[in-house]
Point group: D2
Chain length 150, copies 4
Protein backbone atom coordinates (compact mmCIF):
# COMPACT_ATOMS: atom_id res chain seq x y z
CA UNK A 1 0.00 0.00 0.00
CA UNK A 2 1.98 3.00 -1.23
CA UNK A 3 2.12 6.23 0.73
CA UNK A 4 2.69 8.41 -2.31
CA UNK A 5 0.90 9.34 -5.51
CA UNK A 6 2.39 9.82 -8.95
CA UNK A 7 1.09 12.49 -11.30
CA UNK A 8 2.44 12.57 -14.83
CA UNK A 9 3.09 15.81 -16.69
CA UNK A 10 4.59 16.33 -20.11
CA UNK A 11 6.73 19.47 -20.35
CA UNK A 12 4.97 22.16 -22.38
CA UNK A 13 6.72 24.53 -24.75
CA UNK A 14 5.35 27.38 -22.62
CA UNK A 15 7.23 25.96 -19.64
CA UNK A 16 10.66 26.34 -21.26
CA UNK A 17 12.71 29.52 -21.25
CA UNK A 18 15.46 30.89 -23.49
CA UNK A 19 18.00 28.72 -21.68
CA UNK A 20 16.31 25.85 -23.54
CA UNK A 21 15.17 24.11 -20.35
CA UNK A 22 12.16 24.26 -18.03
CA UNK A 23 11.82 27.61 -16.25
CA UNK A 24 12.41 26.89 -12.56
CA UNK A 25 9.14 28.36 -11.22
CA UNK A 26 7.11 25.74 -13.10
CA UNK A 27 8.21 23.02 -10.69
CA UNK A 28 6.08 24.63 -7.98
CA UNK A 29 3.06 24.39 -10.28
CA UNK A 30 3.83 20.70 -10.81
CA UNK A 31 4.15 20.21 -7.06
CA UNK A 32 0.58 21.47 -6.82
CA UNK A 33 -0.52 19.01 -9.50
CA UNK A 34 1.13 16.37 -7.32
CA UNK A 35 -0.72 17.47 -4.17
CA UNK A 36 -4.07 17.37 -5.93
CA UNK A 37 -3.29 13.91 -7.27
CA UNK A 38 -2.23 12.73 -3.82
CA UNK A 39 -5.58 13.87 -2.38
CA UNK A 40 -7.34 11.88 -5.09
CA UNK A 41 -5.13 8.88 -4.35
CA UNK A 42 -5.90 9.17 -0.64
CA UNK A 43 -9.60 9.12 -1.40
CA UNK A 44 -10.99 12.65 -1.76
CA UNK A 45 -11.07 15.53 -4.23
CA UNK A 46 -9.20 18.69 -3.21
CA UNK A 47 -11.77 20.84 -5.02
CA UNK A 48 -14.56 19.39 -2.88
CA UNK A 49 -12.62 20.07 0.30
CA UNK A 50 -12.49 23.68 -0.85
CA UNK A 51 -16.03 24.07 -2.13
CA UNK A 52 -18.00 21.88 0.27
CA UNK A 53 -16.00 22.21 3.48
CA UNK A 54 -14.42 25.64 3.09
CA UNK A 55 -11.01 24.12 3.76
CA UNK A 56 -7.94 25.24 1.84
CA UNK A 57 -4.39 23.95 2.11
CA UNK A 58 -2.57 27.29 1.79
CA UNK A 59 1.13 27.42 0.98
CA UNK A 60 3.23 28.92 3.79
CA UNK A 61 6.67 27.82 2.57
CA UNK A 62 7.91 26.29 -0.66
CA UNK A 63 11.38 25.15 -1.71
CA UNK A 64 12.92 23.30 -4.63
CA UNK A 65 16.36 21.85 -5.40
CA UNK A 66 17.23 21.67 -9.09
CA UNK A 67 19.54 18.78 -9.87
CA UNK A 68 19.40 18.52 -13.66
CA UNK A 69 17.38 20.33 -16.32
CA UNK A 70 14.07 19.08 -17.65
CA UNK A 71 13.31 19.81 -21.29
CA UNK A 72 10.39 20.35 -23.66
CA UNK A 73 8.27 17.24 -24.16
CA UNK A 74 9.93 15.31 -21.30
CA UNK A 75 7.53 13.05 -19.45
CA UNK A 76 7.90 13.69 -15.75
CA UNK A 77 6.39 11.91 -12.80
CA UNK A 78 5.68 14.11 -9.79
CA UNK A 79 5.87 11.78 -6.78
CA UNK A 80 4.19 13.35 -3.76
CA UNK A 81 3.97 12.27 -0.13
CA UNK A 82 2.78 13.78 3.13
CA UNK A 83 5.75 14.18 5.46
CA UNK A 84 3.99 15.91 8.33
CA UNK A 85 0.39 16.33 9.32
CA UNK A 86 -1.33 17.86 12.29
CA UNK A 87 -4.72 19.49 12.55
CA UNK A 88 -3.53 22.90 11.42
CA UNK A 89 -0.41 22.42 9.32
CA UNK A 90 0.92 19.99 6.74
CA UNK A 91 4.11 19.29 4.86
CA UNK A 92 4.53 17.58 1.52
CA UNK A 93 7.68 16.28 -0.18
CA UNK A 94 8.10 15.91 -3.93
CA UNK A 95 10.35 14.09 -6.33
CA UNK A 96 10.23 14.96 -10.03
CA UNK A 97 11.33 11.86 -11.95
CA UNK A 98 12.04 11.93 -15.69
CA UNK A 99 10.61 8.96 -17.57
CA UNK A 100 11.63 6.35 -18.46
CA UNK A 101 15.07 6.83 -16.86
CA UNK A 102 13.87 7.86 -13.39
CA UNK A 103 16.55 10.56 -13.37
CA UNK A 104 15.70 13.18 -10.76
CA UNK A 105 15.56 16.72 -12.18
CA UNK A 106 14.28 18.18 -8.92
CA UNK A 107 13.04 17.58 -5.40
CA UNK A 108 11.02 19.91 -3.23
CA UNK A 109 9.03 20.51 -0.09
CA UNK A 110 6.04 22.68 0.77
CA UNK A 111 4.58 23.59 4.14
CA UNK A 112 0.95 24.57 4.44
CA UNK A 113 -1.55 26.06 6.84
CA UNK A 114 -5.16 24.87 6.82
CA UNK A 115 -7.38 27.91 6.20
CA UNK A 116 -10.91 28.89 5.25
CA UNK A 117 -11.61 30.81 2.03
CA UNK A 118 -10.89 34.08 3.83
CA UNK A 119 -7.43 32.85 4.73
CA UNK A 120 -8.22 32.36 8.40
CA UNK A 121 -6.38 29.40 9.96
CA UNK A 122 -8.62 26.51 11.01
CA UNK A 123 -8.33 22.86 11.89
CA UNK A 124 -8.61 20.20 9.21
CA UNK A 125 -12.18 18.90 9.40
CA UNK A 126 -12.49 15.53 11.12
CA UNK A 127 -13.72 13.87 7.92
CA UNK A 128 -10.41 14.53 6.15
CA UNK A 129 -7.98 13.72 8.97
CA UNK A 130 -8.20 9.98 8.45
CA UNK A 131 -6.86 10.39 4.92
CA UNK A 132 -3.65 11.84 6.28
CA UNK A 133 -3.20 9.45 9.17
CA UNK A 134 -0.01 7.35 8.92
CA UNK A 135 -0.30 4.49 6.48
CA UNK A 136 -3.68 5.46 5.10
CA UNK A 137 -4.01 4.88 1.37
CA UNK A 138 -6.61 3.40 -0.91
CA UNK A 139 -4.20 3.19 -3.82
CA UNK A 140 -7.14 2.86 -6.17
CA UNK A 141 -6.59 2.13 -9.84
CA UNK A 142 -9.22 4.83 -10.32
CA UNK A 143 -6.75 7.34 -8.96
CA UNK A 144 -3.90 5.89 -10.96
CA UNK A 145 -5.97 6.19 -14.10
CA UNK A 146 -6.61 9.84 -13.50
CA UNK A 147 -3.00 10.53 -12.60
CA UNK A 148 -2.02 10.59 -16.26
CA UNK A 149 -4.16 13.57 -17.08
CA UNK A 150 -2.87 15.81 -14.32
CA UNK B 1 -6.84 64.46 -24.71
CA UNK B 2 -5.68 61.00 -25.71
CA UNK B 3 -8.12 58.12 -26.13
CA UNK B 4 -5.58 55.44 -25.21
CA UNK B 5 -3.43 54.48 -22.26
CA UNK B 6 0.12 53.16 -22.29
CA UNK B 7 1.29 50.53 -19.86
CA UNK B 8 4.96 49.65 -19.80
CA UNK B 9 6.18 46.11 -19.23
CA UNK B 10 9.71 44.78 -19.28
CA UNK B 11 9.97 41.26 -20.70
CA UNK B 12 10.69 38.74 -17.94
CA UNK B 13 12.94 35.74 -18.34
CA UNK B 14 9.93 33.59 -17.43
CA UNK B 15 8.11 34.99 -20.47
CA UNK B 16 10.65 33.65 -22.95
CA UNK B 17 10.65 30.13 -24.39
CA UNK B 18 13.32 27.90 -25.90
CA UNK B 19 12.98 29.72 -29.20
CA UNK B 20 14.73 32.59 -27.39
CA UNK B 21 11.79 34.97 -27.77
CA UNK B 22 8.63 35.81 -25.85
CA UNK B 23 6.17 32.91 -25.70
CA UNK B 24 3.11 34.02 -27.68
CA UNK B 25 0.49 33.50 -24.95
CA UNK B 26 2.10 36.19 -22.80
CA UNK B 27 0.83 38.94 -25.06
CA UNK B 28 -2.71 38.23 -23.88
CA UNK B 29 -1.56 38.77 -20.29
CA UNK B 30 -0.02 42.09 -21.33
CA UNK B 31 -3.27 43.05 -23.07
CA UNK B 32 -4.95 42.62 -19.70
CA UNK B 33 -2.30 44.83 -18.09
CA UNK B 34 -3.21 47.35 -20.78
CA UNK B 35 -6.96 47.16 -20.06
CA UNK B 36 -6.41 47.70 -16.36
CA UNK B 37 -4.17 50.67 -17.10
CA UNK B 38 -6.76 52.10 -19.50
CA UNK B 39 -9.42 51.92 -16.77
CA UNK B 40 -7.09 53.83 -14.46
CA UNK B 41 -6.39 56.36 -17.19
CA UNK B 42 -10.12 56.81 -17.80
CA UNK B 43 -10.63 57.52 -14.12
CA UNK B 44 -11.53 54.36 -12.23
CA UNK B 45 -9.91 51.23 -10.83
CA UNK B 46 -10.89 47.93 -12.44
CA UNK B 47 -10.54 46.12 -9.12
CA UNK B 48 -13.13 48.43 -7.54
CA UNK B 49 -15.56 47.84 -10.39
CA UNK B 50 -15.22 44.14 -9.56
CA UNK B 51 -15.30 44.32 -5.78
CA UNK B 52 -17.70 47.21 -5.18
CA UNK B 53 -20.05 46.97 -8.13
CA UNK B 54 -19.91 43.24 -8.94
CA UNK B 55 -19.05 44.09 -12.54
CA UNK B 56 -16.51 42.06 -14.48
CA UNK B 57 -15.32 42.60 -18.04
CA UNK B 58 -15.15 38.96 -19.12
CA UNK B 59 -13.19 37.93 -22.20
CA UNK B 60 -15.40 36.44 -24.93
CA UNK B 61 -12.89 36.59 -27.80
CA UNK B 62 -9.18 37.32 -28.00
CA UNK B 63 -6.83 37.54 -30.95
CA UNK B 64 -3.24 38.56 -31.57
CA UNK B 65 -1.09 39.09 -34.66
CA UNK B 66 2.63 38.54 -34.14
CA UNK B 67 4.75 40.73 -36.39
CA UNK B 68 8.23 40.44 -34.91
CA UNK B 69 9.63 38.76 -31.83
CA UNK B 70 10.01 40.48 -28.47
CA UNK B 71 12.94 39.39 -26.35
CA UNK B 72 14.04 39.15 -22.74
CA UNK B 73 14.46 42.54 -21.04
CA UNK B 74 12.80 44.45 -23.90
CA UNK B 75 10.80 47.42 -22.69
CA UNK B 76 7.37 47.26 -24.30
CA UNK B 77 4.53 49.75 -24.26
CA UNK B 78 1.05 48.22 -24.40
CA UNK B 79 -1.15 50.86 -26.00
CA UNK B 80 -4.81 50.16 -25.33
CA UNK B 81 -8.01 51.78 -26.63
CA UNK B 82 -11.71 51.07 -26.52
CA UNK B 83 -12.94 50.39 -30.03
CA UNK B 84 -16.54 49.52 -29.21
CA UNK B 85 -18.75 50.03 -26.22
CA UNK B 86 -22.37 49.32 -25.51
CA UNK B 87 -24.06 48.54 -22.25
CA UNK B 88 -23.39 44.81 -22.41
CA UNK B 89 -20.29 44.30 -24.55
CA UNK B 90 -16.96 45.99 -25.21
CA UNK B 91 -14.04 45.70 -27.55
CA UNK B 92 -10.47 46.78 -26.96
CA UNK B 93 -7.57 47.11 -29.42
CA UNK B 94 -3.91 46.83 -28.49
CA UNK B 95 -0.56 47.75 -29.93
CA UNK B 96 2.60 46.39 -28.37
CA UNK B 97 5.40 48.86 -29.11
CA UNK B 98 9.05 48.09 -28.40
CA UNK B 99 10.93 50.99 -26.83
CA UNK B 100 12.65 53.15 -27.83
CA UNK B 101 12.23 52.19 -31.49
CA UNK B 102 8.40 51.97 -31.51
CA UNK B 103 8.70 48.80 -33.59
CA UNK B 104 5.46 46.83 -33.38
CA UNK B 105 5.97 43.23 -32.20
CA UNK B 106 2.24 42.58 -32.00
CA UNK B 107 -1.28 43.94 -32.24
CA UNK B 108 -4.44 42.45 -30.84
CA UNK B 109 -8.12 42.74 -30.08
CA UNK B 110 -10.36 41.43 -27.33
CA UNK B 111 -14.14 41.35 -27.08
CA UNK B 112 -15.82 41.23 -23.70
CA UNK B 113 -19.17 40.67 -22.06
CA UNK B 114 -20.10 42.57 -18.92
CA UNK B 115 -20.91 40.01 -16.20
CA UNK B 116 -21.42 39.69 -12.47
CA UNK B 117 -19.09 37.53 -10.37
CA UNK B 118 -21.20 34.47 -11.20
CA UNK B 119 -20.62 35.05 -14.90
CA UNK B 120 -24.16 36.23 -15.60
CA UNK B 121 -24.34 38.91 -18.29
CA UNK B 122 -25.44 42.32 -17.04
CA UNK B 123 -25.37 45.94 -18.16
CA UNK B 124 -22.43 48.17 -17.33
CA UNK B 125 -23.52 50.23 -14.30
CA UNK B 126 -24.46 53.79 -15.12
CA UNK B 127 -21.59 55.21 -13.07
CA UNK B 128 -19.01 53.58 -15.38
CA UNK B 129 -20.62 54.24 -18.76
CA UNK B 130 -19.43 57.82 -18.92
CA UNK B 131 -15.83 56.66 -18.81
CA UNK B 132 -16.32 54.76 -22.02
CA UNK B 133 -18.31 57.40 -23.85
CA UNK B 134 -16.59 58.70 -26.99
CA UNK B 135 -13.84 61.18 -26.27
CA UNK B 136 -13.88 60.79 -22.52
CA UNK B 137 -10.45 60.85 -20.92
CA UNK B 138 -8.85 62.56 -17.97
CA UNK B 139 -5.31 61.72 -19.08
CA UNK B 140 -4.05 62.41 -15.58
CA UNK B 141 -0.33 62.40 -14.85
CA UNK B 142 -1.40 60.26 -11.89
CA UNK B 143 -2.39 57.58 -14.32
CA UNK B 144 0.73 58.03 -16.41
CA UNK B 145 2.86 57.71 -13.32
CA UNK B 146 1.27 54.44 -12.38
CA UNK B 147 1.51 53.11 -15.91
CA UNK B 148 5.18 52.33 -15.48
CA UNK B 149 4.64 49.80 -12.75
CA UNK B 150 2.03 47.75 -14.58
CA UNK C 1 -8.66 7.23 -39.89
CA UNK C 2 -9.20 10.42 -37.92
CA UNK C 3 -7.74 13.74 -39.06
CA UNK C 4 -7.44 15.15 -35.55
CA UNK C 5 -5.62 14.36 -32.34
CA UNK C 6 -6.92 14.65 -28.80
CA UNK C 7 -4.69 15.78 -25.97
CA UNK C 8 -6.06 15.63 -22.45
CA UNK C 9 -5.23 18.28 -19.86
CA UNK C 10 -6.51 18.61 -16.32
CA UNK C 11 -6.99 22.23 -15.22
CA UNK C 12 -4.31 23.24 -12.73
CA UNK C 13 -4.92 25.51 -9.76
CA UNK C 14 -2.28 27.82 -11.23
CA UNK C 15 -4.42 28.18 -14.37
CA UNK C 16 -7.37 29.69 -12.49
CA UNK C 17 -7.73 33.36 -11.63
CA UNK C 18 -9.67 35.27 -8.98
CA UNK C 19 -12.81 35.00 -11.08
CA UNK C 20 -12.74 31.33 -10.06
CA UNK C 21 -12.35 30.08 -13.62
CA UNK C 22 -9.48 29.37 -16.03
CA UNK C 23 -7.55 32.51 -16.99
CA UNK C 24 -8.16 33.02 -20.70
CA UNK C 25 -4.52 33.10 -21.85
CA UNK C 26 -4.04 29.48 -20.75
CA UNK C 27 -6.11 28.20 -23.67
CA UNK C 28 -3.34 29.25 -26.03
CA UNK C 29 -0.90 27.13 -24.05
CA UNK C 30 -3.31 24.19 -24.35
CA UNK C 31 -3.58 24.80 -28.10
CA UNK C 32 0.18 24.30 -28.24
CA UNK C 33 -0.17 21.07 -26.27
CA UNK C 34 -2.71 20.07 -28.91
CA UNK C 35 -0.36 20.90 -31.82
CA UNK C 36 2.45 18.86 -30.32
CA UNK C 37 0.09 15.95 -29.79
CA UNK C 38 -1.19 16.24 -33.37
CA UNK C 39 2.39 16.02 -34.68
CA UNK C 40 2.88 12.85 -32.63
CA UNK C 41 -0.41 11.47 -33.91
CA UNK C 42 0.61 12.25 -37.49
CA UNK C 43 3.83 10.34 -36.99
CA UNK C 44 6.65 12.64 -35.91
CA UNK C 45 7.92 14.49 -32.84
CA UNK C 46 7.77 18.29 -32.96
CA UNK C 47 10.93 18.53 -30.84
CA UNK C 48 12.87 16.50 -33.41
CA UNK C 49 11.64 18.70 -36.25
CA UNK C 50 13.12 21.60 -34.27
CA UNK C 51 16.36 20.00 -33.13
CA UNK C 52 17.23 17.79 -36.09
CA UNK C 53 15.80 19.73 -39.03
CA UNK C 54 15.95 23.31 -37.74
CA UNK C 55 12.27 23.73 -38.54
CA UNK C 56 9.96 25.66 -36.24
CA UNK C 57 6.24 26.25 -36.60
CA UNK C 58 6.14 29.87 -35.42
CA UNK C 59 2.85 31.48 -34.38
CA UNK C 60 1.85 34.39 -36.62
CA UNK C 61 -1.77 34.74 -35.49
CA UNK C 62 -3.77 33.24 -32.65
CA UNK C 63 -7.42 33.61 -31.69
CA UNK C 64 -9.81 32.05 -29.20
CA UNK C 65 -13.57 32.22 -28.60
CA UNK C 66 -14.64 31.59 -25.01
CA UNK C 67 -18.05 29.99 -24.78
CA UNK C 68 -18.27 28.80 -21.18
CA UNK C 69 -15.81 28.80 -18.30
CA UNK C 70 -13.51 25.89 -17.50
CA UNK C 71 -12.72 25.32 -13.83
CA UNK C 72 -10.03 23.88 -11.60
CA UNK C 73 -9.60 20.12 -11.98
CA UNK C 74 -11.79 19.91 -15.08
CA UNK C 75 -10.60 17.31 -17.54
CA UNK C 76 -10.41 18.90 -20.98
CA UNK C 77 -9.73 17.37 -24.35
CA UNK C 78 -7.92 19.65 -26.79
CA UNK C 79 -8.98 18.44 -30.26
CA UNK C 80 -6.60 19.72 -32.91
CA UNK C 81 -6.69 19.54 -36.70
CA UNK C 82 -4.75 21.07 -39.57
CA UNK C 83 -7.07 23.33 -41.56
CA UNK C 84 -4.53 24.66 -44.03
CA UNK C 85 -1.09 23.61 -45.12
CA UNK C 86 1.28 24.84 -47.75
CA UNK C 87 5.05 24.71 -47.82
CA UNK C 88 5.52 27.91 -45.85
CA UNK C 89 2.42 28.44 -43.71
CA UNK C 90 -0.03 26.36 -41.71
CA UNK C 91 -3.29 26.80 -39.88
CA UNK C 92 -4.65 24.74 -37.01
CA UNK C 93 -8.14 24.68 -35.48
CA UNK C 94 -8.89 23.67 -31.91
CA UNK C 95 -11.86 22.58 -29.87
CA UNK C 96 -11.59 22.41 -26.09
CA UNK C 97 -14.09 19.79 -24.88
CA UNK C 98 -14.90 19.31 -21.21
CA UNK C 99 -15.12 15.66 -20.17
CA UNK C 100 -17.26 13.71 -19.85
CA UNK C 101 -19.99 16.07 -21.08
CA UNK C 102 -18.26 17.22 -24.31
CA UNK C 103 -19.39 20.76 -23.52
CA UNK C 104 -17.29 23.23 -25.49
CA UNK C 105 -15.60 25.84 -23.26
CA UNK C 106 -13.61 27.28 -26.17
CA UNK C 107 -12.59 27.02 -29.80
CA UNK C 108 -9.60 28.60 -31.48
CA UNK C 109 -7.38 28.96 -34.50
CA UNK C 110 -3.69 29.62 -34.99
CA UNK C 111 -1.77 30.53 -38.13
CA UNK C 112 1.92 29.76 -38.41
CA UNK C 113 4.95 30.45 -40.53
CA UNK C 114 7.63 27.79 -41.01
CA UNK C 115 10.95 29.23 -39.83
CA UNK C 116 14.46 28.21 -38.87
CA UNK C 117 15.78 28.76 -35.33
CA UNK C 118 16.76 32.33 -36.27
CA UNK C 119 13.17 33.09 -37.21
CA UNK C 120 13.86 33.16 -40.94
CA UNK C 121 10.95 31.85 -43.05
CA UNK C 122 11.68 28.59 -44.87
CA UNK C 123 9.80 25.80 -46.57
CA UNK C 124 8.64 22.77 -44.60
CA UNK C 125 11.23 20.05 -45.32
CA UNK C 126 10.05 17.41 -47.78
CA UNK C 127 10.17 14.66 -45.15
CA UNK C 128 7.45 16.35 -43.08
CA UNK C 129 5.09 17.44 -45.85
CA UNK C 130 3.54 14.01 -46.24
CA UNK C 131 2.33 14.16 -42.66
CA UNK C 132 0.26 17.19 -43.44
CA UNK C 133 -1.10 16.02 -46.77
CA UNK C 134 -4.90 15.62 -46.84
CA UNK C 135 -6.09 12.48 -45.15
CA UNK C 136 -2.74 11.41 -43.80
CA UNK C 137 -2.88 9.93 -40.33
CA UNK C 138 -1.42 6.90 -38.64
CA UNK C 139 -3.78 7.14 -35.69
CA UNK C 140 -1.47 4.92 -33.71
CA UNK C 141 -2.43 3.68 -30.26
CA UNK C 142 1.10 4.78 -29.40
CA UNK C 143 0.05 8.34 -30.00
CA UNK C 144 -3.25 7.90 -28.20
CA UNK C 145 -1.47 6.50 -25.20
CA UNK C 146 0.82 9.50 -25.02
CA UNK C 147 -2.01 11.94 -25.49
CA UNK C 148 -3.08 11.56 -21.87
CA UNK C 149 0.11 12.88 -20.43
CA UNK C 150 0.25 16.04 -22.54
CA UNK D 1 25.45 53.50 -1.23
CA UNK D 2 22.79 50.83 -0.99
CA UNK D 3 23.60 47.14 -1.42
CA UNK D 4 20.17 46.23 -2.74
CA UNK D 5 17.99 47.08 -5.72
CA UNK D 6 14.24 47.59 -5.78
CA UNK D 7 12.14 46.43 -8.70
CA UNK D 8 8.47 47.38 -8.76
CA UNK D 9 5.81 45.03 -10.07
CA UNK D 10 2.07 45.50 -10.13
CA UNK D 11 0.12 42.27 -9.56
CA UNK D 12 -1.51 41.09 -12.79
CA UNK D 13 -4.91 39.45 -12.99
CA UNK D 14 -3.18 36.45 -14.54
CA UNK D 15 -1.09 36.10 -11.38
CA UNK D 16 -4.11 35.55 -9.12
CA UNK D 17 -5.81 32.19 -8.55
CA UNK D 18 -9.29 31.16 -7.47
CA UNK D 19 -8.34 31.78 -3.85
CA UNK D 20 -8.47 35.46 -4.83
CA UNK D 21 -4.80 36.07 -4.08
CA UNK D 22 -1.50 35.78 -5.94
CA UNK D 23 -0.63 32.21 -6.90
CA UNK D 24 2.46 31.29 -4.90
CA UNK D 25 4.71 30.27 -7.81
CA UNK D 26 4.65 33.82 -9.19
CA UNK D 27 6.91 35.08 -6.40
CA UNK D 28 9.77 33.11 -7.93
CA UNK D 29 9.21 34.96 -11.21
CA UNK D 30 9.33 38.26 -9.33
CA UNK D 31 12.53 37.18 -7.61
CA UNK D 32 14.03 36.83 -11.08
CA UNK D 33 12.80 40.32 -11.97
CA UNK D 34 14.60 41.43 -8.82
CA UNK D 35 17.86 39.71 -9.77
CA UNK D 36 17.87 41.29 -13.21
CA UNK D 37 17.21 44.69 -11.66
CA UNK D 38 20.01 44.17 -9.14
CA UNK D 39 22.44 43.41 -11.98
CA UNK D 40 21.38 46.66 -13.65
CA UNK D 41 21.77 48.52 -10.36
CA UNK D 42 25.23 47.04 -9.87
CA UNK D 43 26.24 48.29 -13.30
CA UNK D 44 25.69 45.61 -15.93
CA UNK D 45 22.90 43.99 -17.95
CA UNK D 46 22.17 40.34 -17.22
CA UNK D 47 21.23 39.74 -20.85
CA UNK D 48 24.67 40.91 -21.98
CA UNK D 49 26.38 38.61 -19.50
CA UNK D 50 24.42 35.79 -21.15
CA UNK D 51 24.81 36.81 -24.79
CA UNK D 52 28.29 38.32 -24.83
CA UNK D 53 30.10 36.33 -22.15
CA UNK D 54 28.21 33.01 -22.25
CA UNK D 55 27.64 33.28 -18.50
CA UNK D 56 24.35 32.26 -16.95
CA UNK D 57 23.31 32.44 -13.30
CA UNK D 58 21.42 29.14 -13.11
CA UNK D 59 19.03 28.43 -10.24
CA UNK D 60 20.14 25.48 -8.06
CA UNK D 61 17.83 26.09 -5.10
CA UNK D 62 14.87 28.39 -4.53
CA UNK D 63 12.71 28.95 -1.47
CA UNK D 64 9.96 31.34 -0.42
CA UNK D 65 8.10 32.06 2.83
CA UNK D 66 4.60 33.43 2.40
CA UNK D 67 3.58 35.74 5.24
CA UNK D 68 0.47 37.45 3.94
CA UNK D 69 -1.37 37.35 0.63
CA UNK D 70 -0.73 39.79 -2.20
CA UNK D 71 -3.70 40.72 -4.35
CA UNK D 72 -4.58 41.86 -7.86
CA UNK D 73 -3.28 45.35 -8.68
CA UNK D 74 -1.11 45.56 -5.55
CA UNK D 75 2.11 47.46 -6.13
CA UNK D 76 4.99 45.38 -4.81
CA UNK D 77 8.64 46.21 -4.44
CA UNK D 78 11.00 43.28 -4.86
CA UNK D 79 14.09 44.15 -2.81
CA UNK D 80 17.06 42.03 -3.83
CA UNK D 81 20.53 41.65 -2.39
CA UNK D 82 23.50 39.35 -2.89
CA UNK D 83 24.07 37.36 0.30
CA UNK D 84 26.90 35.15 -0.90
CA UNK D 85 29.27 35.29 -3.82
CA UNK D 86 32.21 33.20 -4.88
CA UNK D 87 33.55 32.51 -8.34
CA UNK D 88 31.22 29.59 -9.02
CA UNK D 89 28.12 30.06 -6.86
CA UNK D 90 25.90 32.89 -5.66
CA UNK D 91 23.05 33.44 -3.27
CA UNK D 92 20.40 36.14 -3.38
CA UNK D 93 17.85 37.17 -0.74
CA UNK D 94 14.53 38.85 -1.51
CA UNK D 95 11.89 40.83 0.32
CA UNK D 96 8.56 41.50 -1.35
CA UNK D 97 7.18 44.72 0.12
CA UNK D 98 3.63 45.92 -0.56
CA UNK D 99 3.38 49.64 -1.27
CA UNK D 100 2.79 52.04 0.29
CA UNK D 101 2.52 50.16 3.58
CA UNK D 102 5.79 48.20 3.34
CA UNK D 103 3.95 45.14 4.64
CA UNK D 104 5.93 42.00 3.78
CA UNK D 105 3.90 39.43 1.81
CA UNK D 106 6.91 37.21 1.27
CA UNK D 107 10.65 36.70 1.61
CA UNK D 108 12.84 34.28 -0.29
CA UNK D 109 16.28 33.03 -1.17
CA UNK D 110 17.83 31.52 -4.27
CA UNK D 111 21.16 29.77 -4.75
CA UNK D 112 22.79 29.68 -8.15
CA UNK D 113 25.60 28.06 -10.07
CA UNK D 114 27.48 30.00 -12.72
CA UNK D 115 27.19 28.08 -16.02
CA UNK D 116 27.70 28.45 -19.74
CA UNK D 117 24.77 28.14 -22.17
CA UNK D 118 25.20 24.36 -22.19
CA UNK D 119 24.72 24.26 -18.45
CA UNK D 120 28.36 23.50 -17.69
CA UNK D 121 29.63 25.07 -14.44
CA UNK D 122 32.23 27.78 -14.92
CA UNK D 123 33.76 30.65 -12.97
CA UNK D 124 32.23 34.10 -13.09
CA UNK D 125 34.29 36.07 -15.61
CA UNK D 126 36.74 38.49 -14.01
CA UNK D 127 34.93 41.51 -15.51
CA UNK D 128 31.79 40.78 -13.53
CA UNK D 129 33.31 39.80 -10.17
CA UNK D 130 33.91 43.37 -9.10
CA UNK D 131 30.18 44.07 -9.28
CA UNK D 132 29.53 41.45 -6.63
CA UNK D 133 32.43 42.36 -4.33
CA UNK D 134 31.35 43.56 -0.87
CA UNK D 135 30.14 47.12 -0.84
CA UNK D 136 30.16 47.59 -4.60
CA UNK D 137 27.22 49.55 -5.93
CA UNK D 138 26.78 52.41 -8.37
CA UNK D 139 23.27 53.18 -7.18
CA UNK D 140 22.67 55.08 -10.39
CA UNK D 141 19.44 56.99 -10.97
CA UNK D 142 19.57 55.32 -14.38
CA UNK D 143 19.04 52.00 -12.67
CA UNK D 144 16.42 53.43 -10.32
CA UNK D 145 14.58 54.90 -13.26
CA UNK D 146 14.46 51.58 -15.04
CA UNK D 147 13.45 49.71 -11.91
CA UNK D 148 9.85 50.81 -12.31
CA UNK D 149 9.33 48.98 -15.54
CA UNK D 150 10.62 45.65 -14.32
Amino acid sequence: MKDFADATVRVRYAETDQMGVVYHANYFIWFEVGRVELCRHLGFEYKQMESEDDTLIVVAEASCRYKRPARFDDILVVRTRVTRFDKRTMRFAYEVLRQPSDELPATGETTHVICDHLGRPKSMPEKYRKYFSPGHSDGSAHSDGKSNSA
